[in-house]
Point group: D2
Chain length 142, copies 4
Amino acid sequence: MPVLDLQQLNQFLAEHFPQGDQYGVLESVGRGSAVMRLAVSEQHLRPGGSVSGPAMMALADVAVYAALLTRIGPVALAVTSNLNINFLRKPLADADLIADARMLKVGRMLAVGEVYLYSGKAAAAEASDPVAHATLTYAIPQ
Amino acid sequence: MPVLDLQQLNQFLAEHFPQGDQYGVLESVGRGSAVMRLAVSEQHLRPGGSVSGPAMMALADVAVYAALLTRIGPVALAVTSNLNINFLRKPLADADLIADARMLKVGRMLAVGEVYLYSGKAAAAEASDPVAHATLTYAIPQ
Amino acid sequence: MPVLDLQQLNQFLAEHFPQGDQYGVLESVGRGSAVMRLAVSEQHLRPGGSVSGPAMMALADVAVYAALLTRIGPVALAVTSNLNINFLRKPLADADLIADARMLKVGRMLAVGEVYLYSGKAAAAEASDPVAHATLTYAIPQ
Amino acid sequence: MPVLDLQQLNQFLAEHFPQGDQYGVLESVGRGSAVMRLAVSEQHLRPGGSVSGPAMMALADVAVYAALLTRIGPVALAVTSNLNINFLRKPLADADLIADARMLKVGRMLAVGEVYLYSGKAAAAEASDPVAHATLTYAIPQ
């Protein structure tokens, strides 16, 4: 069972990421996992209608952070120390962006997670090919 | 000599990144290098006053992209295929963010660059320790 | 169906990686996926009995390369352009290392894959936590 | 001044990396920096005469580790947690590989360094374009 449920996690994120709704909305959480959805709007687009890289990176970061919090509880001070992202395909402009994140390791000092980003409507998205994949490391203050 | 000078590059970026001023402003360009400055404002901050990771990643991406354009000219279609960033220190909240980018390789298909992010006023910044370091790969359409 | 079957792929790897048996042995292949096993021996160990990072990186590289070949056929010239690896847990010294690789994207110019490394006997390994996770990018010559 | 001088560091590496001479030899150290040289031989080559990726990754890892030790002293237990490498150009087969490493951050828990790999004779190498660039993170046990 996650340490924080969906409602608690949403409340925590809202307090600690005031601009957070531009990063996406939590859809579900598990123990060490989280799914977020970003309703893509004008502010996330590049000319030509593609979702911008920074919008994808921000979503990836918050989704893995949420997955981490389901394990360690509301620790605002866990900080991203490394992010590596591969952009795989051009996301659709008129579709949501879905982030499917899970932790690969949660240690005392370091936690590592990965996240797949999909373009499309929630249910169908995970059946399709990912538009990006990222791994993130967080340092957990002692 | 860069293929594009500072004014041409600024114009190109303004056309292709309409939200681009939130990513930073070009200060200087060389052949395969570019320096950008982000005037940190409320929208770039996390609670506690730290510059957000996504703001730093966006700046890193645009700065290396600008460095690339000084080599290959105005190719709007070069796309980021990989970004790897290490967050090293907490940036100051009341200081600009300076990105110092240069290309490590510009091939026919792939280009790779690196960028150091510094926190502080332009001149002094580069003498200080970087707050982040990123490497980026761009795919160049044939 | 993979473009190359297990036997063809083993033969190709043996020709093109003469030192390859120190990197591991193919156990199975699918379309865009491959499982390799490294029988850990003295040459792969650090003092204290831990498998060395380079041994893990070599295994990760060959496993994803094999997964790629199941899609594009025997192209000796595909070259690794980026590798990002997170070391998650200390591998057991007296256990095999299992690499479970799959492609995330196979484009005309670029291919990206990921691989989980497990420590243990083949069947049981995948049920356990990974000791490392890597993503790799290959440039495919035109 | 480095915490360890060249001779002390060589001795420490020889004890802790018994296969280490296949990884390269220290040429010089500074405070937070190290230069290593790998005399490329048959065991490091791929068919066609190119230096193998794993040989380059091993050299990158040991060089940054040496740079770290010049700051924190002989701590055998610092472990690599992340390595990201971009392969930029094909190294020469009949030339040494030079690694020029320096630390970007040495914190209490985490240390991050970068390294450029050059192909060629020591003095001339650094004037040429790098064949690879890597960043590495080490976790420092408390």
